[in-house]
């Protein structure tokens, strides 16, 4: 029993995903269809990608509430630059640059000025969303200029039976897993989240570590937004609205500890998969979609309770 308790949370979540998928394939015929699997996997890829960055932020003991709004801003900017006839590379660079800027502001305020991550990123949640409104003048962008097909192919296409965003998530997750295990920066991320004073005494550049995780989180939100507008074929300033909850839920369900010092790449992906699976299952079982928020929110609370039970065992 003791060794079970010590198993990482990502393992538990993966088992839950497998169990839920097993039950669903028995009770619902359309669940196991290749179309449905394709859709579920693509939908969680967008969230999973951002959850990887969020996990790093949470591992420092911080939180990034602004990811949904950063998606909106980066998506709008990318769409408008494309629409003005520029190539995709340039448009994506512009979108990512906006995301980078948001991340730098968040990270500098939290890292160097030591402001509360909750307040700083809550401010950015409002600022970035407002900027998206200002820049787009509240219009939907669906004319993506000469590189439109390239964008739609990137976000909406498939390769070897998997949606392109899923491939990107797989690559990013493997990269992130290696990063968590082998990079000095990730070690410092965990140290800052574990005991900031100790990290500072040991010579860890605490402020720079904080800055970096917020920048990573914003950049991943920007990248996810670019893929997403390619899938949707249009972008409004509401892109990513409310996603912060699903992203944070993914990270926390996957074992990132809001007190800092814990978190991993596979947990974030498994958490995102679980949330999307719950949403999909409710849909297929004919539950009123209005209930989705209750179930997603409830799953966060349950994950925290499970974590508490595990913690008392060690």
């Amino acid at each position: 029993m003791k060794s079970l308790r010590r198993a990482p949370q990502s393992l538990w979540v993966t088992l839950t995903v497998a169990a839920l998928a097993g039950v669903m394939s028995l009770v619902s015929e359309p669940f196991a269809s290749s179309d449905n699997i394709f859709n579920v996997s693509r939908n969680f890829a967008f969230i999973g990608l951002i959850a990887l960055g969020q996990t790093a932020v949470i591992a420092t003991g911080g939180i990034d509430l602004s990811v949904g709004s950063v998606m909106g801003l980066a998506g709008i900017v990318t769409g408008l630059v494309l629409g003005s006839g520029q190539p995709l590379v340039l448009a994506a660079a512009a979108g990512l640059a906006c995301a980078l800027l948001c991340g730098v502001v968040n990270g500098a305020l939290v890292g160097y000025l030591r402001l509360s991550p909750f307040v700083v990123t809550l401010g950015m949640l409002s600022i970035a969303r407002s900027l998206a409104l200002v820049i787009s003048n509240n219009r939907m962008v669906h004319d993506f200029g000469p590189d439109e097909d390239l964008l739609l192919g990137l976000g909406g296409g498939r390769f070897l039976g998997l949606a392109n965003p899923v491939w990107l998530l797989l690559v990013a997750a493997l990269g992130a897993a290696a990063w968590f295990r082998y990079s000095r920066l990730a070690r410092h991320v965990l140290a800052v989240g574990g005991n900031e004073v100790s990290a500072r005494l040991a010579g860890v550049p605490v402020a720079r570590v904080r800055l970096t995780v917020y920048v990573l989180s914003s950049l991943l939100a920007g990248a996810s937004a670019i893929l997403m507008i390619g899938w949707l074929g249009a972008v409004t300033n509401a892109l990513g609205q409310g996603y912060e909850l699903r992203v944070i839920a993914s990270a926390v369900i996957g074992g990132a500890n809001l007190m800092g010092g814990e978190g991993g790449a596979f947990g974030a992906v498994a958490g995102a998969a679980l949330i999307e699976l719950i949403r999909n299952s409710l849909l297929l079982l004919g539950v009123d979609p209005y209930w989705q928020g209750a179930f997603v929110g409830g799953s966060i609370v349950v994950a925290m309770l499970v974590e508490r039970v595990r913690r008392t065992g060690r």
Partner: protein, 244 residues
Amino acid sequence: MLELKSVGMRFGAVEALLDVDLEVGAGEVVGLMGDNGAGKSTLLKIVAGNFAPTSGRVLWGGADVDLSPLSARELGIEAVYQDLALCDNLSAAANVFLGRELSRRLLGILPVLDHAAMRRRSTELFEELGSDTRADDLVRRMSGGQRQAVAIARARLSSPRLMLLDEPTAAISVRQIAEVLELIRGLKEQGVGILLVSHRMSDVFAVADRIVVLRRGRKVADKPTAESSPEEVTALITGAIEAA
């Protein structure tokens, strides 16, 4: 090795230290005792470079030095603080190497953490210290004695010549205290000088070569442990005896 000459420290109107002389040689364990507020912590912080004394001289190897936390480290002075400053969520090896992680180059370019080398070196350090601490264990699951070993191993990593130990036996069990005292003897054998601040009379008498007693910022005794007794030191600390 370390010499303080008539060092004084004044915080506004408060004289925290007055005219204190102190010497610590290589392989010598000096026990620093005194009541709360007697100036022990202030003295320790001066040696660690956290405070610059307002009067007097600090000498290292016979030469005057201006200590800062960084320059103290460079000279070979390492402090192990009472609250230990470890990251509970990381392994023993990760804590020992925190801030100075070893890395190797993957395919000749990509720098990656060299877990094997850090584990090996930490294990060696724990063995040298005679501790049963395992490199891969999380600090969260360790006993007080093992934590102390991790903190000391971290300080040992840079092969210091003088170690400042602040209350290393506070808040740990009797069995673990014996372990920590063993660690201190091990360091002494390897020629490391130790300035030990402790409230526990029996610990100081067990390992110290010399005992220095501070009272209200003044040094009231400085004599070989063998020539003193717990009763005398208690009297010196409380002021029942003026000086010895």
